[in-house]
């Protein structure tokens, strides 16, 4: 694990209410001691638990049909097989365990798609900690199965009615809770966002993904992959998949949600996409300076994506920095292309991906599919991070597919025989 980064170039920092600063200092200290320093064997316990409870290592699997389609070797990093169905558990388990080492008594977290919430609820149940999850009302309605799962795991789920009721509002609300309860409570933030040390710490918990990609690639095809592709909401699965390969000759693609269009309705304060890396501008949101979607006054714009988990107006500061540096290439895949890729992976590889994940596959099709734009020449081997499975998205997919004429979708009326 790496050094405690608080800034990434100009990005990052700690833009939080003063009341949170002591908690953040305490956390920074704990992060250094336990996570970076393996004090009291924290890292050993984390690694043992993420293996046994989480199911690591996840496989690196060759995708036979996609490899044939794109004419290069496509490998899938199967984070969808992690307990809970997404990469999110790496971080959630790490942070809940850290909270335990810090002597905290309660866990709070925000969630968008519900994946971070379910991961946190599972980790909290596993480690016997009370847990409360904030979730926007709209996301609650979009991701009901995940709400049920959190409740079943014993977590309280608190709806957030402010604003449009998505991830942005849930984060703000959780920060508010934390500001009143810092002494006993740890806030498990769900991506590489928020004030330092969160972005670095969350990345560290996820960097096992890229460490495994490294090992497994060498084992399976004798060298590092030519490229790694991952979807980016906040960017945690992205940074997890990239972290250990930053110094290597590997192309890194962060695929954002292009939503329905990359243009913006300033008047309404709404961006019909969530492409902060591709189109966002520097600003301060949720404790960090980063790229974000904002209007000309600096008000945060509401983002949009067919996938709740990418529906966020900001992005991790480290990822923003790596994009500015040219180390990571951002790309945007729109709702239609993501849905189409969702159906392709489901039918051709027998893996139903999360809608978030589908964006990463949409990128392959956009650049290298039969009607691809050829804008990127794929290298000989490409690893795609399958950040999560799509069980949570079934209803949304049916609804969204019904609205469109997707050539490769199964007939939906048969779904209700």
């Amino acid at each position: 694990m790496s050094q405690p980064d608080t800034k990434f170039g100009e990005y990052g920092g700690q833009y939080v209410p003063e009341a949170l600063m002591p908690a953040i200092e305490e956390l920074t200290d704990a992060y250094e001691r336990y996570v970076l320093g393996n004090e009291d064997g924290f890292v050993d316990e984390f690694e043992a638990r993420i293996e046994d409870f989480g199911g690591r290592p996840t496989p690196l699997q060759r995708a036979d049909q996609l490899s044939a389609r794109y004419g290069v070797e496509i490998y899938l990093k199967r984070e969808d097989l992690l307990h809970g169905g997404a990469h999110k558990l790496n971080n959630a388990l790490g942070q809940v365990l850290l909270a335990k080492y810090m002597g905290k008594e309660r866990i709070i977290a925000e969630t968008g798609a519900g994946q971070h919430g379910t991961a946190t609820a599972m980790a909290a149940a596993h480690l016997d900690m009370p847990c409360e999850i904030y979730m926007g009302r709209r996301d609650i309605n979009r991701q009901r199965p995940n709400v049920f799962r959190m409740r079943l795991n014993g977590a309280e789920v608190t709806p957030v009615d402010v604003g449009r009721g998505t991830l942005k509002e849930a984060i703000s609300e959780t920060m508010r809770d934390w500001a009143s309860t810092v002494e006993t409570t740890h806030y498990v933030i769900g991506s590489i966002v928020g004030p330092a040390p969160f972005p670095a710490m969350v990345r560290d918990f996820h960097s096992v993904i890229s460490e495994e990609i490294r090992e497994q690639s060498i084992e399976k095809f004798g060298e590092l992959p030519g490229a790694v592709v991952a979807c980016a909401g906040g960017g945690s699965n992205t940074m997890g998949a990239f972290a250990d390969l930053l110094e290597e000759d590997v192309s890194l693609y962060a695929v954002e949600a292009g939503g329905s269009s990359l243009s913006v309705d300033e008047e309404a304060g709404v961006a019909p996409h969530s492409a902060s890396l591709s189109t966002g501008e520097e600003g301060v949101l949720h404790g960090a300076r980063t790229k974000l979607l904002q209007d000309s006054h600096g008000q945060i714009m509401e983002s949009h994506s067919v996938s709740s988990g990418l529906d966020y107006s900001g992005v991790g500061p480290e990822l923003a920095h790596l994009v500015d540096e040219g180390r990571v290439t951002p790309a945007a895949v729109d709702d239609d292309a993501a849905l189409e890729a969702f159906h392709r992976l489901s039918q051709e590889e027998g893996i139903i991906p999360a809608l978030e994940t589908a964006h990463a596959f949409g990128f392959l099709e956009t650049v290298a599919g039969p009607d691809g734009d050829g804008s990127v020449e794929l290298p000989e081997t490409v690893v795609v991070n399958v950040s999560g499975r799509g069980d949570k998205d079934l209803e949304a997919v049916i609804e969204e597919t019904d609205k469109r004429e997707l050539e490769n979708a199964p007939r939906m009326e048969v779904f209700d025989p």
Binding site: Q14, V16, P22, G283, G298
Partner: protein, 279 residues
């Protein structure tokens, strides 16, 4: 403006907060003026940001109302220009609005501070800008003669407190308790502890978060505060007026009388203070 922030705390000060433009530009002008008429010594005037992570539901809703009525940073400055009050004004907002203000090709932050100074604002308080990140804003504030006010939380102590005290000017905003803004009815132990930690630092201490009545104000001043900051209790009046379709003047009248009660409370508090020895 004739009174400065430095003068405002000569006697126990009453520092009200309202979100500018809540629920609309014109009414809001009357409300702020009513506070001044009621005895405000300093006014914290909120410039609404879409993600007010430090606010409780009351002020959050005020911010939503103001944004919906079309408030922008430039309108805010026009609002300040239009205000007819003889009380020092402090701009309370979040850092992203300060950072984004002005044309693209200028140095960020400078245009905001410049414009704030131009309209006569005397201080700035930014809840999501801890001392660690405040160098740039602090620099421009110095340049344009604005005070940069910091919030001291019940959890702020030791080195952090010292570093903050080095930079602060105008007054310190003493957060009475953990949590977010919102009117409450009890006085927190945390207040006294925080005030105790601040003893020896030669800067006015204004206590806020949860103060809603004259009695509260009195107790806080009696405990050693140099002023009381009151937000949600006032915003509640605005909200109620808005929801019930009350006449602006009537709402303004209520604000004015609560302001008077709070100011009186603050003054009474001073009387109850244990007299420092040898005075």
């Amino acid at each position: 403006m004739t009174v400065t922030l430095a003068d405002a705390f000569d006697e126990p000060a009453f520092v009200p907060y309202l979100a500018a433009g809540d629920p609309d530009f014109e009414s809001s002008l009357s409300y702020v003026e009513a506070l001044a008429a009621g005895g405000a010594d300093v006014i914290e005037l909120g410039l609404p940001f879409s993600e007010p992570i430090a606010e409780g539901p009351t002020i959050q809703q005020a911010i939503v109302r103001s944004l919906e009525s079309g408030m922008t940073p430039e309108r805010y400055f026009e609002f300040v220009e239009a205000l007819e009050v003889d009380v020092p004004l402090v701009c309370m907002t979040y850092y992203n609005l300060i950072y984004q203000f002005g044309p693209e090709d200028t140095d960020p932050v400078r245009p905001f501070v410049e414009r704030a100074a131009e309209v006569g604002i005397e201080g700035v308080v930014v809840p999501d800008l801890p001392a660690e990140e405040a160098d740039r804003l602090g620099g421009y504030c110095d340049e344009y003669g604005l005070d940069l006010i910091f919030i001291v939380a019940p959890t702020t102590a030791g080195d952090r407190l010292d570093r903050m005290m080095e930079r602060v000017s105008g007054y310190v905003y003493v957060q009475a308790r953990l949590g977010v803004t919102g009117a409450r009815s009890d006085l927190s132990d945390q207040t006294e502890e925080t005030l105790a930690r601040l003893e020896g630092h030669d800067v006015p201490k204004a206590v806020g978060f949860g103060i809603s009545t004259g009695e509260h104000a009195e107790a806080v001043v009696a405990a050693g505060a140099d002023g009381v900051i009151v937000g949600s209790a006032l915003v509640d009046i605005v909200a109620e007026g808005h929801e019930t379709g009350e006449e602006t003047e009537r709402t303004a009248g209520k604000l004015r009388s609560l302001a008077a009660e709070l100011k009186a409370g603050a003054l009474a508090g001073k009387e109850r203070r244990p007299r420092p020895e040898g005075t």
